[in-house]
Structure formats: structure tokens, C-alpha cells
């Protein structure tokens, strides 16, 4: 994906995460590989339960253990291996190197502390800043995320702020120690449509100002098209397609990506004559405990054929920078 020679900021290689459940072992991430370069935005899309959030939590070292654990693979940040680090070192990295914002700004802020305190606290912990200096940074960060009257808002409790404001506070908090990577896990899912656009604008603006790389997890294809440089499509714990956002959205090679794109409603149908009903992908994401030997998408795929049930397809190059994992692509190439 990153075609330039500079090594990526974050590199995830063959990451496997397993969860022990009553129904058996669930492989929630199956050989996931991702690269993200400094200052870029990588979008990760897919249905609920496909492993997007688990990828984010793995990078943060926050996979709930038990029941989950990183079975194999590597995550390296600027050449430094993150898997297997002890908790203390991980605490150093979280916040200072990697920041994260979550889906639910309503419940992701601690209700019993002021937002200023919650932002200032990580500055105090990570930079050994004094109380006043940390609070000054908190106010500065609130200003940076376009919160009006930041010095007054810093003394507000989360319940006194609107949803959009809370998500801005979350962003301010994640960026307070100037991390090089920000993971945004569905940052707008719980917000109104107009506020969603504002938050995406803000993320883009901050990314351009600070050069922070962003992993944007979403199922909003529109946001991916607008913001992301690269995109990875996940299905049932695996990446089924990845590449530059322009290529993947205009010429999706995997049937699942094609399905996702046709699922997006258009206000003005394009082309205008194509006034058909909104399409959907039939079926549901399979249970991860009983995936067969074949392609996980095969039961829902319109283009499935004999080979699809036999073995899982590998990611192969379909162009210089675009990769897909589908048996149809392999047979095309031969």
C-alpha cells in the first residue's frame, strides 16, 4: 500500500487473535496485515463483528485477556515490536505514541470527573507536568478541537455537554500528548448526521495540522471516500481487500467490497436511470467458532463456485497496489 520507500509508521503482520469461548476457539483475527505511513489515513471497513475493533484493540495492547490473546504475528510501531511488551511499557506507549477514540462519546468519558481533568490527567501522567501546566494544555486542546469558551468548558462534567462536544473532548484527550498515531473506532456512529460531518472535518483538519497518522474504523463508505488514503476491507476476521482508496472504491475486486459499495444509498441515483431498490448482501456474518475450511464469505457470495469451499483464498495482487482475497481473482490470473 505505501509504495514509497520510507518504512511504515505502523506495521501489522500476520496478526492472529484467538478468543476462548464456550462454543470453542474463535479466531477473531486471522493473519491480518496492515501498514500505515506517517501522516496518512487508513480506513478499515466491514460489518459489525468482522474484527475492525479487535484490530484496534490489538494495536493498543488492550485485547481483553482472558478470554482473548494474541496468538501470533507482530505489531511494530516505527520498528519497535509492541506484542509481548509488559503492561508498564504499554502504558507509556498508549497516549503518547498511540491515541484512541471510541464509538460512544456518551459513555466513554468518566461521568464523575470534569473533562478538563480527564484531558489534563494523561498530560500529568505521561509528561510529568504540573497541575496547572496540564490544565493549560487541556484548555489549549479543547480550543484546538473547536470547543467554544474552552476555559469554561474545561470545568464542565461530561453530562453537561452534547454528544458532538463529548466526541470533540475525546479527540482532544487522545491527542493531548501528541501521539503519532490516532485510532478512531467508529467515531461518529452514535452522532447526528450533521455532527458526523463536523467530526470528520475536524479529524481531517487536525491530521493536516499535526501530521498524525489515523486509522479510521467505520462503516461509512462516504467518509472513507472523502478522508482515507488507503482502505482495508475486513470480513470475518480477515482482510479481503486492501489498496489505495480510489482504486478500491472505483474498481472493487472482492465480491464483498462490491456488495458494500452497492449497499450505500444515493440521494441521486447514479446513473439516474438505475432506480432499483436498495441492495443488500444476503445472509449474516458467520459465527467465528465454526468457520469452514473455505472462504468465509462463500455462503453469501453470488459468485461462489466449487473452489471456494475447498480452501481459504490468500491476498493476491490485482494491480500494483491493490490486493484481494478471492478464488475468482486467482482463476482470472491463470
Amino acid at each position: 500500500m505505501s509504495t514509497d520507500a520510507t518504512p511504515p509508521l505502523l506495521s501489522v503482520k500476520d496478526l492472529v487473535v484467538d478468543f476462548k469461548t464456550r462454543a470453542g476457539n474463535a479466531r477473531v483475527l486471522d493473519h491480518v496485515s496492515l501498514d500505515i505511513s506517517a501522516g496518512k489515513i487508513l480506513g478499515i471497513v466491514g460489518e459489525s463483528g468482522c474484527g475492525k475493533s479487535m484490530t484496534a484493540l490489538s494495536i493498543m495492547g488492550l485485547v481483553p485477556n482472558p478470554p482473548g490473546r494474541i496468538t501470533s504475528g507482530s505489531i511494530s510501531l516505527d520498528g519497535r515490536e509492541l506484542t509481548g511488551l509488559d503492561e508498564e511499557t504499554l502504558c507509556e506507549i498508549r497516549g503518547t505514541e498511540i491515541g484512541m477514540i471510541f464509538q460512544e462519546p456518551m459513555t466513554s468519558l468518566n461521568p464523575v470527573f470534569t473533562v478538563g481533568e480527564q484531558i489534563a490527567e494523561s498530560v500529568r501522567v505521561h509528561e510529568n507536568a504540573g497541575k496547572q501546566a496540564a490544565m493549560a494544555r487541556a484548555v489549549e486542546m479543547l480550543k484546538a478541537v473547536d470547543i467554544p469558551e474552552p476555559d469554561i468548558r474545561a470545568r464542565a462534567y461530561p453530562h453537561q455537554l452534547s454528544g458532538g462536544m463529548r466526541q470533540r473532548v475525546m479527540i482532544a484527550m487522545a491527542l493531548a500528548c501528541r501521539p503519532r498515531l490516532l485510532i478512531a473506532d467508529e467515531p461518529t456512529t452514535a452522532l447526528d448526521a450533521t455532527v458526523q460531518a463536523q467530526i470528520f472535518d475536524l479529524l481531517q483538519e487536525l491530521q493536516q495540522d499535526t501530521g498524525t497518522a489515523i486509522v479510521l474504523i467505520t462503516h461509512d463508505m462516504g467518509a472513507i471516500a472523502e478522508l482515507a488514503d488507503d482502505v482495508a476491507v475486513m470480513y470475518a476476521g480477515s482482510i479481503v481487500e486492501k489498496g489505495p482508496v480510489g482504486d478500491v472504491l472505483s474498481q472493487p475486486c472482492h465480491p464483498y467490497t462490491q456488495g458494500l459499495i452497492t449497499c450505500v444509498p444515493h440521494l441521486v441515483p447514479d446513473p439516474p436511470l438505475q432506480r432499483e431498490a436498495l441492495r443488500e448482501i444476503p445472509g449474516m456474518v458467520p459465527a467465528l467458532t465454526n468457520l469452514g475450511a473455505g472462504c468465509a464469505f462463500e455462503p453469501r457470495c453470488e459468485k461462489a463456485f466449487d473452489q471456494c469451499t475447498g480452501a481459504k483464498p490468500e491476498l493476491i495482487k490485482v494491480s500494483a497496489s491493490q490486493l484481494g482475497a478471492c478464488w475468482a481473482l486467482e482463476s482470472d490470473q491463470r
Binding site: L62, C91, R94, M100, S108, N110, P111, V112, V125, A174
Partner: protein, 324 residues
């Protein structure tokens, strides 16, 4: 609503409640069977009808009910709780002599139970299947199942008879002489066993409650946020989680306070602790109604004050609470 406004309102309601308690107590004791004049006469060794009539006259027992009630309530307003038939002392003075001992026992055992219980609960919640968690479960089963008179007596057998580490009862040892610290040490020495006994039930309650409350809070999104910020584990636990988990503990501690006061009666009796509980027991046995009513009044007063303090504490902990 501002905090001072809330406090003023709470105090107003508290006063009304106290007056209600007074009227109810007085009425209940008046309609209870038995004649007070008779029992006073009985203590004097028996008396004929004219003497009993004199007693009625002296204590105003021959006046109509509402006059007696009014005299009593207006007396209480002047902090005069009447005169004890049994001790021949003003009730207010009697109670003020015994109250400090009871408050010392009740508050020390509650503070011990809340602090230690919360700490145990947090440690148990940290590892829900760990050894501390098991200990908390065992402790709460034992604490709930063992009545204080029994556990108190067991403690006396263990630490007074078999291993004579603690005094058998009372609050101070008259033979101990020395400065303030020596006296204090002696007091704490006497306090230890009754405090542990009274704390045991509540230690069980609070550790169980803290464990459940912490487990719930630890699953919250803001705990994940705190971890994602890179806060060390102890900050996540003792700052972010604990402050949220304290609400139920404070609420229950406030509600339980009246039960603690009545538990103190039993514990004081077992350890001959010279507090209100011992006084209450003796005055009930002696049918000393002014003292009984006085003690009931003071216990209600303490319970109401503690509940007001509970409300204030809850508001300080959680800014979302806007008490009406």
C-alpha cells in the same frame, strides 16, 4: 439547586421527621399496657392508692394525653428530655454521658467496615476468580450468618480466655494511670474487640457490595478510555473506577446506619461497653420511659444527621446527582 439550598431543605425535613418521631414514640409508650406510677411504686417497695396518686401528680401522669404530649415536645425543644424515674437524673444528662461511648463504637466500626470492605472489594474485583475474591465471598457468608452476640462471645473466648490479649469488657481500666496517650491506648485496647464484632457484619456487606459495584464499573466504556490513555492500573482502579463504584456503598452505609445503632445495643451488652445500648437495655427492664424515649430520640437524631451527610457525600461524589 445549589448545595447549600439542598442542605437547608434536608435539615428542614429532618426537623419535621424528628418531631414526628417524638410524637409517635410518646404515643406508642402511652398506649402500651401497664401503669408507670405502679412500676415506680413497685420499685419503692409497694405503696397504697394515695401514694400512687401522689406519684401521678408529681410526674404529671394524671393530666390529659395531649397536655402531657405538649409538655414533652416543648421540653425537648428546650433540650429537656424529662427526668429519669430510675436513675433520678435528668435524661439529657444521662444520655450525654453515654452518647460518646456509643458514637465511638459505632463510627469506628463503620469506618473500619467501609474502608476495609471497599479495599477488599476492589482487590476482589481486580481478579474476580482470585484468592481475595474467594476470601471476600467466604467472609461475607460468615459475616452474614454469624449473629454479633455469638461472634462477640467467640472473640471473648478466643482473645480473653484462651489468649489473654484484650480486656474482657468495659471502656477503660481504672488501674491504668498515665498521660493522654496512655489513656488513649487503654481506650483503644478496650475498643478493639467490640469494634471488630460490630464491624464484622458490615465488613461482609460492604466488601460484597464493593466487589459487585467495582465489577460493574470495570466493564464500563470510560474504564477502557482510561486504559487507552495509558493510565497505570492503580489509577484506573483507585481513581476512575472507585469513584464511580462508591455511590452504592455510600448509599447503603447511610441506610444501614440505623441497623448499626441497634446492633450496637447487642454488642455493648456483650462487652459491657458503657454506651447508650447498655443504658437502653437497663431502662427498658426498669420501665424507665423518659430514658427510653430520650434514647430513641437521640438515635433518630443521629440517624437523620447521618442520612443528611450521606446525601451531601453522594452529591460531592457524583456531579450528576441533583437532589430535589
Amino acid at each position: 439547586m445549589s448545595l447549600t439550598h439542598t442542605i437547608a431543605k434536608r435539615i428542614g425535613w429532618g426537623l419535621l421527621l424528628l418531631i414526628g418521631v417524638l410524637i409517635l414514640n410518646f404515643t406508642l409508650i402511652s398506649i402500651a399496657p401497664g401503669d408507670i406510677a405502679d412500676s415506680i411504686a413497685g420499685d419503692m417497695g409497694g405503696a397504697d392508692a394515695t401514694v400512687i396518686e401522689e406519684i401521678r401528680e408529681r410526674y404529671g401522669l394524671n393530666q390529659p394525653f395531649y397536655v402531657q404530649l405538649w409538655k414533652y415536645v416543648s421540653g425537648v425543644a428546650r433540650l429537656d428530655l424529662g427526668f429519669s424515674y430510675f436513675y433520678n437524673t435528668p435524661v439529657t444528662q444521662l444520655i450525654l454521658e453515654k452518647l460518646p461511648a456509643t458514637l465511638l463504637l459505632v463510627f469506628s466500626s463503620q469506618i473500619l467496615a467501609i474502608v476495609l470492605g471497599t479495599l477488599l472489594g476492589v482487590l476482589a474485583a481486580k481478579k474476580p476468580n482470585g484468592i481475595v475474591s474467594l476470601l471476600v465471598t467466604f467472609l461475607s457468608l460468615f459475616g452474614f450468618a454469624a449473629p454479633v452476640f455469638w461472634s462477640g462471645i467467640l472473640l471473648i473466648i478466643a482473645f480473653v480466655s484462651i489468649f489473654p490479649l484484650f480486656p474482657v469488657g468495659g471502656m477503660t481500666d481504672v488501674t491504668v494511670e498515665g498521660g493522654f496517650f496512655v489513656q488513649l491506648l487503654d481506650l483503644l485496647h478496650h475498643l478493639f474487640l467490640p469494634m471488630i464484632t460490630l464491624a464484622s457484619i458490615y465488613l461482609a456487606l460492604y466488601s460484597r457490595l464493593a466487589r459487585a459495584s467495582m465489577l460493574e464499573v470495570l466493564g464500563a466504556d470510560y474504564i477502557r478510555t482510561a486504559r487507552a490513555k495509558g493510565l497505570p492500573q492503580r489509577m484506573v482502579l483507585y481513581k476512575h473506577a472507585l469513584k464511580n463504584a462508591l455511590g452504592p456503598i455510600v448509599t447503603v452505609a447511610g441506610l444501614q446506619f440505623s441497623a448499626v445503632m441497634s446492633g450496637a445495643v447487642v454488642v455493648e451488652t456483650v462487652f459491657s461497653w458503657p454506651g447508650l445500648g447498655t443504658l437502653a437495655l437497663q431502662s427498658i427492664l426498669a420501665r424507665d420511659t423518659p430514658t427510653i424515649m430520650g434514647i430513641l430520640f437521640f438515635s433518630s437524631f443521629v440517624v437523620i444527621v447521618v442520612n443528611i451527610l450521606t446525601d451531601i457525600t453522594l452529591r460531592v461524589i457524583d456531579p450528576r446527582i441533583k437532589a430535589g
